[in-house]
């Protein structure tokens, strides 16, 4: 449902020459020559028949050194009017592409990332600098000819080596060579490159290690008195090359790595990935219902968990310490339930391509039910403390407004988009698992200020608990012998195992996304041929795009609002950096 129809895409051929339209399991890609790209995108954006106003993602596929041209750009757009997505592809001749920032400002970071990771140049980009790596870094890590372990060049002696000198044998002989790390000079150059034309005398640095940044984000503020004139963000301190790892590892084996992206809501990260892989295998509709209900239930619990952490730290940042203690009390119960069901509290790795790895243990539903019954009362408690409190109101109301235009322009998703009045919720637009069967509302704000973002998330907690109730009710009707994992009818053709050994995914491509606590998390999997490893995995991170609006929304605001804005955007560095 959520992809443009073939007929509609065929119509484009009347206006543009040399379009190739390819349908793949309902996912429609349009390939265009580079010269037409901007015009085509412009038409798609502005033509009332299409209205692909919202920028979702942009990435590059490296077709290996032998291929000429080597790099292919992939654009994913969404039309809020018709609730459709489209994928546009084009070849980057001479490793260059025209910039998209004239159409969607939000493409700025995506293009910088493409430049950083693949070395693609963008004609007309206002400041094409690195995104994650530092400025002097000589390589492009996501290129296929870049080795998985990096070029080993810098020596960082480990404790063992300090202790034992060169007497290292066997397993104790840790690899001494590590990949390059930036020097202080490099960092200085990077900082200057990010903000080339500063107007004030000093640039205020916030982070990378500051409790208020909730992780390693490095902010640069160009100030006029207390007011921010210009802002840029240096991220990448937690960049681990998750996309590169994905290309070098089996399908189930990658799931624990997704845990480590958005570690606050690791279940939701697993969810997005398994759904993308299931859609690529074309088995998503055949997953046992019980598994789907369990997954829906767990995903919503995880959303509550994530929002509770958000609320606690957000209130803490704005000076309401008690809130932090209250939400962590509730959170502890969820963690306890998670530990009982999955064996881990934080990096959960419970979902599998094909279902879940084990059934719910005895008593799990009772534990969840008793928690979820209490929760709305607790949320009322929190609201009583904050919502009408005059200090809270004055620090949030009308602070850092994000307009509907911004949402489309920057590809904002999740609670940030909804607070600006855009009812963009993938659970409704492109339902996965059992979201078609449950009843819930999408909370939307109308102004798009920090206060709205706060209210929307609070309402989301309530809606989530509503969904959890429904899931429990449905799960009670199942038998203990119902399967929780997909059984292949023909294991020779399609082998699928809980531990992932011998699993092959077919050739093809897919983009699937789920609505995470931090926005739309999408996985674009591109497989040149069937195999045990994907050819390219692109992770469309909601937190990454949501963080980008920070640089705009903070302009003209006093520096104190940076805390409010960052908290209400709620990025997690593991996911922005990947």
């Amino acid at each position: 449902m959520s992809w443009i129809s073939v007929e509609k895409a065929e119509k484009l051929k009347q206006k543009f020459e040399n379009l190739t339209i390819e349908e793949n399991n309902g996912y429609l890609t349009v390939e265009t020559p580079k010269e037409n790209l901007i015009n085509l995108l412009k038409t798609l954006k502005e033509d009332p028949e299409y209205q692909f106003k919202m920028f979702i993602d942009f990435t590059i596929i490296d077709h290996d050194t032998k291929s000429n041209p080597r790099f292919q750009g992939v654009y994913i757009l969404y039309s809020p009017q018709y609730k459709e997505r489209i994928i546009i592809k084009t070849w980057a001749i001479n490793e260059e592409l025209p910039t998209l920032t004239t159409l969607w400002t939000g493409a700025k970071w995506a293009e910088r990332e493409a430049y950083d990771m693949f070395g693609i140049k963008f004609e007309g980009h206002e400041n094409l600098v690195r995104m994650f790596m530092w400025e002097n870094y000589p390589y492009y890590p996501l290129r296929k000819d870049f080795p998985l372990k990096g070029y080993e060049e810098v020596e960082l002696p480990s404790l063992n080596e300090e202790e034992r000198g060169d007497q290292l044998e066997g397993l104790f002989n840790y690899s001494r060579m590590h990949t390059a790390i930036p020097t202080l000079q490099d960092l200085e150059i990077t900082q200057k490159a990010r903000m080339p034309k500063k107007s004030s005398q000093i640039v205020l640095n916030w982070g990378p290690l500051h409790p208020g940044t909730h992780g390693t984000i490095w902010f640069l503020f160009d100030l006029d008195g207390e007011y921010v004139q210009k802002c840029d963000i240096i991220i990448g301190q937690l960049h681990r090359g998750v996309e590169k790892i994905a290309e070098n590892i089996g399908y189930q084996q990658f799931i624990p790595y997704t845990d480590r992206m958005d570690y606050i809501a690791s279940i939701n990260e697993n969810h997005a990935y398994v759904i993308a892989a299931e859609k690529l295998m074309d088995i998503h509709d055949k997953i046992p219902e019980k598994a789907k209900w369990i997954r829906t239930l767990m995903a919503e619990l995880s959303r509550i968990n994530s929002h509770l952490l958000w609320l606690g730290t957000y209130a803490l940042d704005l000076g309401a310490l008690t809130m932090f203690l209250y939400t962590f009390r509730e959170r502890e119960k969820i963690m306890d339930i998670f530990e009982g069901i999955t064996g881990a509290r934080f990096t959960i790795n419970y979902f599998r391509i094909g279902g879940v790895f084990a059934d719910l243990p005895y008593g799990a539903l009772d534990a969840i039910e008793s928690f979820i019954k209490e929760l709305p009362k607790r949320v009322d408690d929190y609201e009583r403390l904050l919502t009408r409190n005059r200090i809270w109101v004055s620090r949030n109301k009308d602070i850092c407004v994000i307009t509907e235009e911004d949402v489309y322009d920057y590809g904002l998703t999740g609670a940030v988009a909804r607070a600006s009045g855009v009812p963009y919720d993938l659970r409704k637009i492109d339902p996965y698992d059992m979201y078609t069967e449950v009843d819930f509302d999408i909370p939307v704000g109308d102004k798009g200020d920090s206060y709205d973002r706060y209210l929307v998330r609070m309402e989301e907690i309530r809606q989530s608990s509503k969904i959890v109730h429904q899931c429990i009710e449905k799960l009670r009707k199942f038998s203990k012998n119902d399967p929780y994992f997909f059984q292949s009818e023909d294991p020779k053709k399609l082998k699928i195992s809980i531990d992932g050994r011998g699993m092959k995914l077919p050739q093809g491509e897919v983009y699937a996304s789920t609505d995470n606590p931090r926005g739309e998390l999408g996985f674009y999997i591109f497989n040149k041929k069937a195999g045990i490893k994907p050819y390219r995995v692109r992770i469309r991170s909601g937190a990454f795009y949501n963080l980008q609006i920070f640089t705009k929304a903070i302009i003209g605001r006093p520096i104190a609002d940076a805390i409010t804005l960052l908290s209400t955007l709620d990025p997690v560095v593991g996911e922005t950096d990947r």
């Binding site: 480990s158 404790l159 066997g170 397993l171 104790f172 590892i249 189930q252 084996q253 990658f254 624990p256 790595y257 845990d259 480590r260 209250y326 009390r329 502890e332 119960k333 306890d336 530990e339 009982g340 069901i341 999955t342 064996g343 990096t347 790795n349 790895f357 084990a358 243990p361 005895y362 008593g363 799990a364 539903l365 009772d366 534990a367 403390l385 919502t387 009408r388 409190n389 005059r390 109101v393 409704k428 009843d439 819930f440 509302d441 999408i442 909370p443 939307v444 704000g445 209210l455 309402e459 809606q463 009670r476 199942f478 038998s479 203990k480 012998n481 119902d482 531990d499 992932g500 050994r501």
Partner: protein, 237 residues
């Protein structure tokens, strides 16, 4: 499609003058003032990890609870049939194949050095099994891949160490860990065929442990019952 607008009315004069917003907030804090503490005072009180907890690994020994196909695996891989108390590992390296960080395993099998007429001639035994837990993600994939239910997760979570080499566990240590764990909590987790018990509970149901856990649940810990309509009720012990 349900869309719900959020928003609140702005403060009224009365609310402003009489500080009603603060009063209401204070009522919440005061209410909580009289609630019980929920903090578990580690290390004086130690909460037992749940049954499925994925902690430090162990290698199980042969103890008569092997799955039915155990011997056929032994034959298939030409391993010397293990006695009671010897490791179940058949050096098949399935765990390594399923692991997201395969280099953390070092698994080697060795041919037995026996004369030709010995019944074990030509058979192998496990020689090396090292795991570098500093690289482990505790994801559980290895335990799900093991055909002989040899590698398991135990409930040990404190594995800090001064050197990285201490995180490398060899097969003796791993066997020891598993033996201890099985003696302690094996019954809760595994059935007679070494598979996960069907009636594993979401948390352990021992008296002392429930008392500590009840703290964390605000003093009113939920009673556990069956999940599904045809699941039998488990009487608490």
């Amino acid at each position: 499609m349900g869309i719900k607008k959020v928003g609140t009315k702005s403060q009224t004069i009365i609310e402003k003058i009489f500080f009603l917003d603060f009063m209401k907030g204070l009522s919440t804090t005061i209410k909580h003032l009289f609630k019980r503490t929920i903090t578990v005072t580690f290390p004086y009180e130690i909460l037992e990890p749940t049954i499925r907890f994925r902690g430090v690994h162990g290698l199980r020994n042969v103890d008569g609870t092997e799955a039915d196909d155990f011997m056929s695996w032994i034959k298939k891989l030409k391993i010397k049939p293990p006695e009671k108390g010897e490791t179940r590992c058949i050096a098949c390296k399935f765990c390594q194949a399923a692991c997201p960080v395969p280099e953390l395993f070092t698994i080697k099998a060795e041919k037995l050095n026996v004369p030709e007429d010995h019944p074990h001639h030509g058979l192998k035994i496990l020689a090396v099994f090292d795991m570098d837990l500093s690289k482990c993600m505790f994801c559980g994939l290895c335990t799900q891949a093991c055909p002989t239910d040899c590698i398991i997760h135990t409930d040990i979570y404190d594995l800090s160490s001064y050197t990285r080499r201490n995180w490398v566990l060899n097969k003796e240590m791993l066997s020891q860990i598993a033996d201890d764990f099985i003696a302690r909590r094996g019954k809760e987790k595994f059935d007679e065929k070494s598979k996960w018990r069907e009636d594993q509970t979401v948390w352990p149901l021992h008296e002392e442990d429930l008392k500590i856990r009840a703290k964390l649940w605000d003093g009113n810990i939920p009673q556990l019952g069956p999940n599904y309509y045809d699941q039998s009720d488990k009487t608490t012990n």
